[in-house]
């Protein structure tokens, strides 16, 4: 395996075990689902449940490979990650998801826009939020009104573009 050139350190040893655990868990889930499906293979001899079982076995093999590799290679250092920007973006997406229906496309997407900008260092929300909402309104106008793509409308959209 050519993973030896790990001078920059891309993967800590713990990560291999963590991935292995995830893969094994995913494998268990697939196996459970595969086994609980009554075989309806008919003439093919392969039913709905067989592919999940096959994938589950492969996932376990991969989990075993990860464990083996983690033990052999030990830990590598990961480039420093800043948690705050990630939280900003995920928070922006979550807000858009929750506010899309009640507040409409433009405000929800404007918030996502401002959060993303904040994640990249533009923290002055009184500037980025109006820009985001304005931009989203233009997008709404073009796609919903002009091109008939169905986007959720809210107070702002109804106010500007009419009901």
């Amino acid at each position: 395996m050519s993973d030896q050139k790990n001078a920059d350190g891309r993967r800590p040893g713990g990560a291999a075990f963590f991935v292995a655990a995830l893969l094994a868990a995913l494998g268990c889930l697939l196996l459970w689902q595969g086994l609980s499906i009554p075989d309806k293979g008919g003439y093919a001899g392969i039913g709905s449940g067989d592919l999940p079982i096959f994938i589950a076995i492969c996932l376990w093999l991969l989990a075993a490979a990860h464990v083996w590799k983690g033990m052999r290679e030990g830990s590598h250092r990961l480039p420093r990650q800043e948690p705050l920007p990630v939280l900003f973006i995920v928070g922006g997406l979550a807000m858009q998801l929750i506010l899309l229906k009640p507040l409409g496309f433009s405000i929800a997407s404007g918030l996502l826009f401002a959060c993303t900008a904040a994640a990249f260092g533009k923290r002055r929300i009184h500037i980025s939020l109006p820009i985001g909402i304005g931009f989203a309104l233009v997008v709404y106008g073009v796609f919903d009104r002009l091109l008939q793509l169905n986007l959720p409308a809210g107070v702002l959209e109804n106010l500007i573009f009419g009901g």
Binding site: Y43, Q148, A153, E157, G163
Partner: protein
């Protein structure tokens, strides 16, 4: 007309964003099949006849339409601009898939068309008529592979009924499900399967072009456009018609429901719709209101019995 106006006024009063006249029709099937065709025909005629300013079609394929139905029922409640095309296939699929969502979870508006199910082979096939096919099935049911739509759909049910009527164990049929009409057609044309079963309308252009041969149709009477015998004429007691309907979103007010029904009635009575049915080879079997609701209940009951009979539903 009055209902429509009332509906529009009501919608405006409630500040519902979409104008009642705009429609989004869900075709719960892959592009190219019968429901997709129905949805797109509705779209074309409704726009051309000025019944609606803007109609969009959305395809959500899978499992006899239950994927689309479930999505429709869960996402459109109270929205009068949403329509879904469905039909007999969906009735069966809800049962075989043990779908948590049924036609009771939407608002059926009207039956629009009906079509015979056709049984056809590619022109290169040695099979000349339906009786030869049935003899082959009697000798070895597994050797006759059928290409058709979703498992448990009208095509599958028809094959099951034919087997039963011919004295063959219906659970022994070798039915190969394809998700869209297009892919099944390609498999038949390419001689990948023994025989194909699908809506007559999908086979007729091929029969006309001489690439396919129609062996039989499933309705009680001969189908216009083909001289293939009915299954009854050939000695098998099978009478299936694949009807297609349109339903609206769940949770509509009576006014909203009436407005949608009025638009659909306008569609059905338009010259454009008649011309469209003619060109597609569909029969007008329009049925709405209480009559349709009663008929639907009867069909659901009958289908449940049939599916149990042929072993598709426990």
């Amino acid at each position: 007309m009055k209902h429509t106006l009332l509906g529009v006024a009501l919608a405006a009063a409630l500040a519902v964003p979409a104008v009642a006249n705009d429609y989004m029709i869900m075709a719960p099937a892959a592009p190219g099949g019968g429901w997709d065709g129905t949805a797109r025909a509705m779209q074309e005629v409704m726009q051309a006849e000025g019944i609606s300013a803007s109609v969009q079609v959305q395809n959500v394929p899978g499992a006899g339409g239950t994927v689309g139905l479930a999505q429709f029922a869960s996402t459109t409640s109270g929205d009068a601009s949403q329509l879904i095309v469905g039909g007999y296939v969906m009735v069966g699929a809800i049962l075989t898939n043990e779908s948590p969502v049924s036609l009771a979870d939407v608002t059926p508006i009207a039956r629009l068309t009906g079509e015979a199910v056709g049984i056809a082979v590619s022109a290169a096939s040695p099979i000349q008529n339906i009786n030869e096919l049935v003899e082959m099935m009697k000798a070895d049911p597994g050797s006759v592979s059928w290409a058709g739509g979703s498992a448990g759909g009208v095509d599958h049910i028809t094959v099951g009924l034919l087997a039963k009527a011919a004295g063959i164990d219906p659970t022994k049929i070798n039915y190969v499900a394809f998700s869209g009409g297009g892919e099944a057609l390609a498999a038949i044309l390419g001689n990948q399967v023994t025989v194909g079963i699908s809506g007559v309308g999908e086979f007729l252009p091929q029969v006309e072009a001489g690439t396919m041969r129609m062996l039989a149709v499933s309705t009680a009477e001969k189908w216009p456009g083909t001289d293939a015998p009915t299954l009854m004429e050939s000695g098998y007691d099978v009478n299936v018609q694949n009807w297609r309907m349109v339903a609206a979103a769940p949770g509509l007010s009576d006014e909203q429901k009436a407005a949608v029904a009025a638009d659909i009635e306008k569609l059905v009575n338009s010259a454009g719709w008649k011309a469209m049915l003619e060109s597609k080879g569909w029969a007008n079997t329009y049925l709405a209101g209480a009559d349709f609701d009663a008929q639907l209940a009867k069909e659901i009951e009958a289908t449940t019995a049939v599916l149990k009979d042929i072993g598709l539903v426990k």
